[in-house]
Amino acid sequence: MLPNWLARPALAGLGLSPGYSFILYLALIFNHNLNFLQFTFENILILFFSLLAVFGALMMVTRKNPITSALYLILNFFCVSAIYLLLRAQFIAIIQVLVYAGAIMVLFLFVIMLLNLHDESKLSEKITYKKLSAILISLLLFSVLAITVYFSYMNKYREIHSSAETIGTIEVIGNELYTTFSFPFELVSFVLLAAIVGAIVLAKKKFD
């Protein structure tokens, strides 16, 4: 998907990106407040789930079998849902499981099994030039995004806001959705309508 004209300069110019990532890593470790190392039970849970989420994402990208990929993505979704819960976003955490893990991923698995796909050739077999540049590009993207965000929020927002627990409840979100945000709430029904009509038009077997 990456055009060749982009791959060449990207590979040449962005060789520095692992360096950026390393600097970021050092900055993370030597953060002067060292909030990072307070091993309360909550922090341990957050660490555990975030590591598992990253693990799931990495496995999802690298597995050759689409079904395995999908299952790892579900693992990732569950971990992210747990993190939402630790961020006091109860409603979103439940919806995450219901919609992402429950509906979207089931649809994926259903389609994969319907199509009866064969295994893809193993990813590690051919690390071509193009794939290497893809990895470098995403590393560079990560370092640019992460360094910017890290230094902007270094000394801000150290604790979860005290009102976060009430905000995450279904009452508050439902109330907001049906009053202030009623207009976009109505509009997303058109997104769903377009999707329903479109899915039937494209995938229905016979049409007369």
Binding site: V61, I137, H161, I200
Partner: protein, 99 residues
Amino acid sequence: MGINYFLILALLLFSIGVAGVLLRRNAIIVFMCIELMLNSVNLVFVSFSSYLGNSIGQIFVFFIMTVAAAEAAVGLAIIIALFRNKETINIDEINILKW
């Protein structure tokens, strides 16, 4: 634990998703990577929402989830329609039109 931890986790997931889109050739897996990207955006929204004490972020997540579900339906329908006509979903083999 500061907000930075969650933001960087989300950005890491986002970058993994981008890497997956660029690396993989299977249309379904590419699409799953896109779902991962959307999911990481949700994490950014929720963490800002919790740390700012502002509910708009979580409302926005609600909309993103709706759209992700809609996109999943349409995307998979497109993949099925393509698979009916040509027994492949490998992006490299889909080349009647020059990519």
